[in-house]
Amino acid sequence: MEWLNAIVQGIMLGGLFALFATGLSLAFGVMRFVNLAHGDLAILGAFVAVSVISATGLNPFVSLVIVVPVMLAAGYALQLGAFNFTISPDPLPSILVTFGLGIVIQNVLLETYSADSRGLDVGSIEIESIRVTDAIAIGWIPLITLVVAVTVLGALQLMLSRTSLGRAFRAVSDDPPTARLMGINDRNLYAVAMGIAFATVAVAGVFLGIRQSFGPLDGPAQLLYAFEAVVIGGLGSVWGTLVGGLLLGVAHTVGGQFEVTYGYGSGPLVGHLVFLVVLATKPSGLLGRRAE
């Protein structure tokens, strides 16, 4: 029963990982853009929520109504003003620029909010849960996180497969020069994609902040899990990102069962091992397209 509980809790945790990975997966899928600042952006989103809440007194969930548009606009502007200049077949410029951006974000957050850990308080719902059996209880917050992750990824998949914006994303992802010949302004489209990526990672950051305490330097660890989720699931695959996140979450909680014997790191360790096994045996990811 303990193991079953670990798996159930892992699926819940996986929702958060999938939410983190969504924007990374989208930016890579649409423009082969590797964003090393992704984790820091999640933390930035959480701190924006801190400011919004202290200014307005809103509930953290409700603060998303402000945080998400702010981050969306920031993503759009940053892509147009900076990231677009790094788009090339060579991935190095984007890696360097976003690595630098991550450092900038961490230090601006340190200056602005100090190094103290913060949390986003949503009230008593934080500790409430649904009892499934005597041994298994599902917390409301993890459940809401999972539902939001599935909804966000589902909406993204629908957008990509059914709408003109989605078709434009698929067109530039496949062949940017030909997409331009169809009248698509690819630079503007990249900015829209980055806006969506920022919006989703802001949601992830706020849910992280509700779930646990966070500080200005916590971004890189989140980036690592997001990358692992994307690679496990398959680069550029929306459902793959969800599967990758869930699998990574289950690996963490099942690994966490060994904590008593091996100490705190056993959960992340098993997560990393699952990641390495997938990378070694199926480099294109569980649901990824075969490498072209």
């Binding site: 003109s164 698929r170 169809m182 302004n185």
Partner: protein, 242 residues
Amino acid sequence: MAPLLEVAGVDKSFGVKVVDDLSLQVNAGDALGIVGPNGAGKTTLLNLIAGDLSCDRGSIRIEGEDVTRTSSDWRCRHGLARTAQIPRPFEGMTVFENVLVGAVFGAGVPMSETNATPAAVEALERAKLLASANTRAGALPLLGRKRLELARALATRPKILLLDEIAGGLTEAEVLELVDTIRDIHAGGVTIVWIEHIVHALLAVVGRIMAMSFGMKIAEGDPAEVMASPEVQEVYLGVAPE
């Protein structure tokens, strides 16, 4: 009235000059063929006109408006379309989706998919590809891919259509089929600039031919006269003038 397309004194160099002081005028309703040996700079010229490459010197005007510094997607939205020498469909999409992308984004005005659908269907009809609308583009045979290049370009509602060796690689029977289609498209009011090695295909459609060699225009005019001229005979067929 200004010509539909005017290329004036255009240069392009990649270390060596590939297009050299080239000028050219195309009026609405024209069909111009461009011939020349491999490496003459024909495709580069088309890339310059379409905006895939930028000119080192000279200017390009559409309906009198200087478009030399505009991007290829801007030119597409303002009436210019081109097909690629090697068809490049969006392979993961269906034929219809491929054409729909052109119909939505090439329109030049914000357009919903519902409003763009009639244009997409019409483009498929004109390119004789409607029967394959739901085929995955990656699964099309070569003639189908060439037709898809045409349909996608037509869906963007071009005033002027640039064709880059669209008949290349096809069987003789397929070339004749495609020539029929292109003749219909021209008859429907689309101005055509067509690069082609298969001369008889060109002659069935175009009213004027320009011959290029080493980036320069060496002859232009009536198709039969241009093809028979000593300059063209020499560079194109390797026959020395008498």
